[in-house]
Symmetry: C2
DNA sequence: GTATGCATGTAATACGTTACATGATTGT
DNA sequence: ACAATCATGTAACGTATTACATGCATAC
């Protein structure tokens, strides 16, 4: 069932629409040159995803009062969709996400910032940092014994995450001041 | 055609087998707790991918001389597969990869290290850093004007990349000494 | 009125995911 | 003999990808 478990692209669309009414055509222009675009910017993925969200009742089309602004079909997040979005954003940061999808965590950070502001974003980054630290302190001895080089590569890849969270928190603090 | 364009998982498998004969069962144990596992560690993805690679002639089964070591089917990279792997690793680092798949670049770094050693890995990191720098110096003015916050998030996400490459290069230099 | 870009959509395909199924091996 | 783990495999499903198609603007 797509009823209760939209894909990552679905949540991305939801997050974008959370910032105001957008059309499907806006999505690639907003994300294609951003390092958060791990999905294709092709219409073949976006429009079906929008229709899925609409079927779930998470978004709805909104007719613009403007005098026929071409064919653009704008969508907004419904109250139900907003609560689902918040649920996604406020999910606890799990070990599996730290390992497999650091990028999804970054996406959640961005949308938390936009939806709830800098304070909430800083809180999220702190939780993210805790989770990454916890993972880094695991033994992982079997990896070290099997392939030391791979261990090095993996460790470096994950350590970038914690550096990023620290950096992001500093930037946010500067902005608040 | 899967003949000439294997998926990312295909290259990952190729890279793993490049380090010596492995079985399909080895893959999840090598990668599941590593931040390079953006694919599922389930057999439903790995075994079909192995068969695709075998059909392409990039890998081949190798019968172990050991006295019937259970049912493990070991694979090795064929000469043709090795040249394809090297082609993938030595691909120039493009702007699109910096934006959309930093993780694939990290994978290529790891396998470059294993296949060609530290010197080649450092060279790759240098190229990666150049590409990231070039992207960071682009104007990206439209993003800044539309959604300043998103701009911040995106910039932070990409800047992690360059920090990581620098860090990795330092680690490698220490190791050489 | 022809071309170019805007904006949405569809069809074929292949891949990953999830869940289930199977046989061999080891231990007790 | 029985259970648990090892190791491989299959089937159903949904979704991303790629490429193509459509209609409407606006400009020249």
């Amino acid at each position: 069932m797509a009823q209760d478990s939209p894909t990552r692209l679905g949540f991305v669309l939801l997050g974008i629409l959370g910032g105001g009414p957008r059309s499907g055509y806006d999505v690639p222009t907003l994300f294609s040159s951003t390092p958060m675009a791990h999905f294709s910017d092709s219409p073949g993925s976006i429009y079906p995803a929008l229709r899925r969200l609409e079927r779930c009742g998470w978004i709805r089309p909104v007719q613009s009062r403007q005098p026929q602004p071409s064919k653009r079909r704008l969508f907004t997040v419904t109250p139900q969709g907003l609560s689902k979005l918040k649920l996604w954003l406020r999910q606890p940061v799990r070990r599996a996400e730290v390992i497999h999808s650091l990028e999804e965590l970054q996406l959640r950070y961005v949308f938390t910032y936009e939806l709830s502001g800098a304070v909430a974003a800083v809180r999220f980054l702190a939780e993210m940092e805790r989770a990454i630290q916890a993972y880094l302190q695991e033994p992982r001895s079997f990896l070290a014994s099997v392939r030391p080089q791979m261990h090095l590569g993996g460790r470096l890849a994950i350590e970038q995450g914690i550096r990023w969270t620290r950096r992001a928190r500093n930037e946010l603090r500067k902005e608040e001041a």
